[in-house]
């Protein structure tokens, strides 16, 4: 496997005494769209800020395109496109002014491309940034991140606050402008049903570590909800990979990862129950299971 474009190893970060990241490990391969999922406050923005050299981690290493995030900060920023969460720009500047202004910081700024993008994204050149709609604001922020033709683009919750049409349009731009040009996209979101159609890979951040990382379609296939039929005290401790346990009437609903035929046998043997049904889950349900699932060991029917 070729060298990953983004590589995070053992990342730790604390805000004062509160430990937010507790050893995050992540690899993003070139040209892929990587979705970074997590509930609010889980540390997604913190991780991204460390990648951009805006925060100094307590421990761990981040590398983008072979460059160290902390040591080669300026080179990283010149090679990476970044769109901050709910990015506030200088309201008094006109669109064409802010574009030119940001461009002056990047030696690789492609003026011709930027002019085409302005038209393509439908941004009014003469308007002041403060008078732009939220959708236009997001598109402008995206443009500013792409103007220097980076090979890696990092988007922090780019569709925050957008209406559904604007959100879909934004994702279209990501696919059309970036995926078509083999640009690696790393973007964080907490709108899971939205990430799924777009992302090649998904990583779920929980309690400061990566709870799961997988190819998007494999994630769906491997996590299933199975219904068990049993009675009395059921001991589930021996079964690995349980994400959620719930009683559904006389059945036990187990949300379980890495599920296949072999695992079915394992579950039946170790719990003493019969598997009566297997249900596909959507990504919301999978995410829920990872984040707030009840990892209980024992159930009474």
């Amino acid at each position: 496997m070729s060298e990953p474009v983004i590589k995070i190893e053992g990342l730790r970060f604390s805000y004062g005494s509160k430990e937010v990241l507790r050893g995050v490990d992540l690899e993003v391969s070139a040209g892929s769209i990587f979705g970074f999922l997590g509930p609010n406050g889980s540390g997604k923005t913190t991780t991204i800020k460390v990648l951009l050299g805006l925060l100094k981690p307590g421990a761990g290493v981040c590398r983008i395109a072979g460059l160290d995030s902390q040591k080669d900060v300026m080179t990283v920023r010149r090679s990476v496109g970044y769109m901050a969460e709910d990015q506030q720009m200088f309201g008094w500047m006109r669109v064409e002014q802010i574009v030119r202004w940001v461009g002056s910081f990047y030696p690789g700024w492609d003026e011709k491309f930027v002019q085409e993008l302005l038209d393509f994204l439908g941004l009014p050149r003469k308007s002041r940034v403060k008078s732009l709609s939220k959708g236009q604001n997001s598109r402008l922020a995206l443009l500013l991140a792409l103007g220097h033709r980076p090979k890696v683009v990092i988007l922090d919750d780019p569709t925050l606050g957008l209406d559904p049409i604007a959100r879909k349009d934004f994702l279209r731009y990501v696919i059309g402008l970036l995926q078509s040009n083999q640009v690696t996209v790393f973007f964080s979101s907490h709108l899971l049903y939205e990430i799924e159609p777009v992302a090649d890979y998904v990583a779920i951040l929980k309690d400061g570590v990566i709870a799961k990382v997988d190819k998007t379609d494999q994630l769906r296939q491997s996590v299933k909800k199975i219904l068990l039929r049993g009675a009395g005290d059921i001991e589930l401790g021996g079964v690995g990979g349980i994400l959620d346990v719930a009683r559904m009437g006389e059945r036990i609903a187990l949300t379980i990862e890495d599920y296949n035929e072999a695992r079915r046998g394992e579950v039946e043997k170790k719990s003493g129950c019969a598997v009566v049904d297997e249900v596909d889950l959507n990504l919301d349900e999978i995410f829920e299971a990872y984040i707030i699932g009840n990892r209980g060991q024992r159930v009474k029917v």
């Binding site: 805006l54 925060l55 920023r77 010149r78 709910d86 506030q88 008094w92 910081f105 990047y106």
Partner: protein, 232 residues
Amino acid sequence: MIKSLFWKEWCEQRWKLAYGCILLMGFVAIGLRSRLVQDDIIIIMAAGGGSVLMALLVGMGLVATERGEGSIEMLLALPVRSWKIFAVKMAMGALVCALPIVGCMVVSLAMAGGREMSASRIFVPYLGGVAFSIVMLVWMVAFSVRQPSEARAGLVGIGVFMGWIFAILLSMLFFKPPNWFGLVITPLGILVITFNWMYNVLEWLVAVQLALMVCLLLWGAYRFGKEGMVKV
């Protein structure tokens, strides 16, 4: 790159320059014309009061506006060292503080030069005012660089000024007048010394204040670029 930073700060600060010039120069012009009070009172009010006013006005908006609006995030994420951004802001801020006072000096010299006071006697207080304004700006910004709003930064500025007053009053308990210690250690000494022509501690004053300013600028630059939870 640096040129862009200067351009941005200029566009954002220039209205304060205009405001200061009109207010202060207008005051001086009317004051000197009307001759209701002695010339040196007008000049001291303009140089002293004007320098405090400009420092507060400019200091409030230099960093805190961007924090309040949230645009500071974008600024700090650019591929340019944060201390450079800070330096450009301070330079432009100093310019905007100084120019209205210099303008007042020009007006005063033109209208009252040689009238009650000689040109050099008019010149020195304004010079002191410019110096004091810049020093107060540095102190104020250094302490308020992580404040999340202009109002809070303004309060810090006033607090800094009051802090100097207290320092002088406290030192009066330990040192008999003329209390060189209190005057040298706080920037208020700049005003007092230039207004009263007390040159014997000038070297001390300059040395101490310059050293303090350098420390504050470094400290401010460091905290300016540091990300993390900004206290609200």
